[in-house]
């Protein structure tokens, strides 16, 4: 069945030679679109990572908006 479809397709392209560059162009376009999407996503994640590395600006931090984190501390640490 698949072979039959392939043969038919080849035959169709042979009888319509103008379609070959069109198919090639479509393939190139799809490849470029995929590349573009990949690049855009990479930039997006890179920006997020950079943002995490650089941390919040001190002007954005106030005593009220500090986020609580719970930390286990040994008894003697207040003496150190």
């Amino acid at each position: 069945m698949i072979r039959k479809q392939f043969v038919e397709r080849q035959l169709y392209l042979k009888t319509n030679p103008l379609l070959i560059p069109l198919a090639f162009r479509l393939a190139v376009e799809r490849f470029c679109l995929a590349l573009l999407t990949f690049s855009a996503l990479s930039i997006l994640f890179d920006v997020q990572e950079t943002s995490a590395q650089s941390g919040p600006k001190s002007s954005q931090i106030t005593e009220e908006n500090l986020k609580d984190i719970h930390v286990s501390v040994g008894f003697s640490v207040p003496l150190m």
Partner: protein
Amino acid sequence: MIAGQNRGAELDIVREAMALEGYRVVPFYVSNKRRNAEYTDGVTDGAMTVSPHEELEGHYSKTYITYQNVAISLAARKFDIKKIADLTDKRIVAFQTASKVLGPEFSRAISGRDTYREVAKQYEQIIRLYAGDVDVVVGDKNILRWFVKNSEYPEELDTAQSIAIHQIFLPGHKYVVFRNRSLTIAFDRGIDVLRENGRYDEILTNYGFNVIPQNDPS
């Protein structure tokens, strides 16, 4: 150096580093053993004063403080303690988790010894030393000094006895460990800022501690 008042040089450093990153540190005071268990059980987000030997799961920070563990004894006993192996025949009381934290050589020296004890409250270490119940106390020099100078002891205890300090341990670099990697990154960044702007040294100096260089071998 204020016991019971939620303060101390190390705690101030950790607090200020995390505050720079938008976090408020809420400390849960527990024994060293309990500290590791609470963190492992997910009760807390992180644990501080952690040694690499403790092998906790999570993301370790860069080292942010260095402890100087020592052995102390009553000077009158005139012990000749120059290396860890010299502790083998001594009655020792150390802080909790010391057998892990102080490395394999110390572990070997105390292995299988029924004269070795670890206690959660280091105040008890000093009492036992003055009372003559133990030969040697092992702990951080600054913490032990604080207890010797500031604790109130039973009247019958002779606290005027001189103490000998034996520097037999390498400096112990300490870390914080967080389950969440972003907290560790934030902490390291905060510590870098405190070191760069001089606040780190200022905190240690304010509490009367010597600044130990970061590149000290351990």
